[in-house]
């Protein structure tokens, strides 16, 4: 399907991108409005004549937003590193080694990735509470394994399988041990796949909400999604600050997506497409 795109097509694209981006652009426009222009008739005016950074200042001064960002970063980073490490061993074995029961293991991994989080939350909560791990980083890293481990095994198996088997055979015939083959031959070739997996795992951990909401209830340990969601007070909703906070968390994501889009797409679509 290598049809050439006509001018109408580009018009369509522009409209499409605008629609997709509209909510975000509106938040961006609202985030620099002074309070008086967020309400009433002027609320529907996309541009303000008195731009202000007050909302951004307020997000960091009046709310422990820096703390939320730090918490999310710590939790998502540790989760990513440890899950991808554990998953890479398992995925390597499943993809490259011969042993019985591989389809069953893959089946288990796949079914676990379909588990609804709500089905595991009550025992996990009680378990963490009894250990005194609620309101701690570990209290989130442990349950995040449910989500991230099956995901990373699944992705990594696909990536490992794409590496030609001949290389490994050659290395083994040359007398390299399994460990050497893994580190010196497979790993360097698998780096792109591992990196892709890490991005997806990081995003999944960063965005997680249910566990974060229930397990870490103290402000000191809240993550970004929960922190922002609970900005809304009992009677008033500080839309200015919320817009600013939304922009602050979205801009790094946009940059990350722009840089890594090719990888993310390959990760998202692997396993769902026959090659």
């Amino acid at each position: 399907m290598n049809k050439k795109a006509g001018p109408m097509f580009y018009v369509f694209l522009v409209v499409f991108v605008f629609l997709v981006m509209f909510p975000f652009l509106w938040m961006l426009a609202s985030s620099i409005k002074p309070l008086s222009e967020l309400f009433g008739d002027r609320a529907f005016n996309p541009f303000t004549s008195n731009p202000t950074l007050q909302n951004y200042v307020s997000v960091f001064v009046d709310y422990p937003f820096m703390r939320y960002l730090w918490n999310s970063t710590v939790v998502a980073t540790i989760t990513t590193v440890y899950t991808v490490l554990v998953a890479s061993f398992a995925a390597y074995a499943i993809a490259r080694l011969n042993f019985k029961g591989k389809p069953i293991i893959l089946g288990v991994v796949l079914s676990v990735s379909m588990f609804p989080q709500v089905a595991t939350i009550s025992p996990i909560y009680i378990f963490l509470k009894n250990l005194g791990l609620t309101n701690s980083y570990l209290g989130l890293i442990i349950p995040y394994t449910t989500i991230t481990l099956p995901l990373s095994i699944w992705l990594l198996v696909t990536f490992f399988r794409k590496i030609p088997f001949d290389l490994e055979e050659a290395a083994r015939i040359d007398g390299a041990s399994l460990w050497q083959t893994y580190w010196k031959v497979i790993m360097p070739l698998a780096v792109p796949g591992i990196f892709t997996t890490a991005i997806l795992v990081f995003i999944a951990a960063w965005n997680e909400f249910l566990f974060a909401l229930t397990i870490n209830t103290a402000d000191k340990f809240k993550t970004v999604p929960v922190g922002i969601a609970l900005f809304q007070g009992q009677y008033t909703i500080p839309w200015g600050e919320i817009s600013a906070a939304t922009v602050v968390v979205t801009v790094p994501l946009v940059i990350m997506v722009l840089i890594f889009q090719r990888r993310i797409v390959s990760g998202l679509t692997s396993g769902s497409v026959k090659e």
């Binding site: 080694l97 011969n98 796949l110 609804p116 394994t145 249910l210 999604p225 797409v265």
Partner: protein, 447 residues
């Protein structure tokens, strides 16, 4: 290394294949083990435990029900704060000759019951320690508070204490006791110290099956899942077909498509809440101008409006993802098929039905499976956007389970609901996997 290998070289080569295979499986299991253990401990075990908890009346904020127990227990702490004083008070009444006959019988019954509690040696030990601690006004450690007792002892205890309580009440009403109210109070307290096992069997399931709220939330979840996934599928497929061609700025399109997917759902929900706002929301205003709603405020304050808003936000967030998955599927279809078809005179629609759809089937089903499961367990979008309201009209099954567990601290019933969610998800995946056949696992293998 080389020097060592030299003499044995030929033998080794012969042996290698066999040895390698055996070695492989040991290493294989070793490498898979950590991941499997984690999955077992953090995913599978909790699901089993959820089911176990759902058979109990488990309420975190009620001390007697905050743990699962299958046996009868006695709250020793509470018992020892009442029993000695009751006996003491009765003694002093007897000394003064007030209804001494009845009171003496009551006292001996009480002492018999006390012996019954102390029957087991470990119980005696706890009994004494707690007594000593109470005398010194120390705190009682939680693990010592409760001791197990036999069912018959517990039942005998409860019935006799109730009788005693009733007797003391009558004696008090006849008015010949000095500290009558105190004695009655202490004896009433004794009726509450037996902790019954909180095993309820399938009671929670029975209640839920007849509970309107649970059916309503299940219905809401199904409506949400069906409509949003269908809309996402149609729109996603249309977009994928449209952008499946060579054009400038592909990367930019791909990136902008990924942004809604990458934003945390909670943040996206909050954005939409702002856009839907009844007074200041731009999208609400646009919908009103177009005539989709009569008044802006209707979006989030009416049943249908709220459901529509939630679905619309979900479609915004996940259609791009769907389009990406389908686009990847489309790109694996060779262009020569279409050329051949058009030479044969097949029109666009015919090409779509006879080439695109069949070849896209497995991508389509996989995308549908993941989206359906995701939509079915929806939580954060609704929690932030509508909070399940107005009047529970957008409460999904996950929201309901959350409310039961964390708002009402009713973990037993909440676990029952989460088991229901689990079963639904299992049924949905079962259906899809049946449709997919073994494709799913094979797909992962990349052949």
């Amino acid at each position: 290394m080389q020097t060592e290998i030299d003499p044995k070289e030929p033998i080794k080569v012969e042996k290698r294949p066999k040895k390698k295979k055996k070695n492989d499986s040991v290493v294989g299991y070793l490498l898979v083990a950590p991941a499997l253990i984690l999955i077992l401990a953090i995913s599978i075990w909790p699901v089993i435990q959820s089911f176990y908890f759902s058979l109990f009346d488990l309420q975190l904020n009620e001390p007697t029900k905050s743990e699962v127990h299958l046996d009868y227990q006695i709250d020793l702490d509470r018992y020892l704060q009442n029993f000695p004083f009751l006996v003491g008070a009765i003694d002093s009444e007897i000394d003064k000759g007030n209804s001494s006959e009845e009171l003496t019988t009551i006292k001996s019954t009480l002492e018999n019951l006390d012996e019954g509690i102390k029957e087991k040696p470990e119980a005696q030990e706890n009994y004494d320690t707690i007594n000593a601690k109470l005398d010194n006004f120390e705190n009682i450690p939680a693990d010592m508070k409760y001791i197990e007792i036999e069912e018959d002892v517990a039942q005998e205890f409860t019935t006799s204490v109730k009788e005693i309580n009733a007797d003391l009440r009558t004696i008090n009403e006849n008015g010949n006791l000095e500290q009558g109210d105190k004695i009655v109070g202490l004896s009433s307290a004794l009726t509450e110290i037996v902790v019954e096992p909180n095993f309820v069997g399938f009671e929670h399931y029975k209640e839920n099956l007849t509970d309107q709220r649970m059916w309503r939330s299940l219905w809401n979840t199904s409506v949400f899942t069906f409509i949003s996934v269908l809309a996402e599928l149609i729109l996603g497929l249309a977009i994928a077909l449209l952008i499946n061609k060579a054009f400038l700025g592909r990367g930019l399109i791909r990136a902008s498509i990924l942004i809604p997917w990458a934003i945390p759902t909670a943040v996206a929900a909050l954005m939409w809440k702002f856009l839907y706002d009844g007074q200041n929301g731009i999208v609400a205003k646009l919908f009103e101008d177009v005539g989709l709603v009569d008044r802006m405020a209707m979006l989030l304050t009416t049943d249908t409006g709220a459901m529509f808003s939630v679905i619309f936000a979900d479609v915004w967030k996940t259609t791009p993802y769907m389009a990406l998955l389908l686009l990847a599927g489309l790109q694996t279809i060779s262009g020569s098929l279409y050329e051949a078809a058009s030479i044969d005179g097949a029109n666009k629609w015919k090409q779509f039905v006879t080439i695109t759809l069949p070849l896209l089937k497995s991508s389509l089903l996989v995308a549908l499976l993941f989206r359906t499961l995701d939509a079915f367990r929806v939580f954060d979008l609704i929690y932030v956007l509508t909070g399940g309201g107005p009047a529970n009209s957008t409460e999904t099954i996950s929201m309901y389970a959350y409310t039961l567990m964390f708002k009402q601290t009713n973990f037993g019933e909440g676990s029952a609901i989460s088991v229901v969610v689990f079963i639904c998800v299992a049924i949905i995946s079962g259906i899809f996997i049946k449709l997919l056949g073994s494709d799913l696992i094979k797909d992962g293998s990349g052949k």
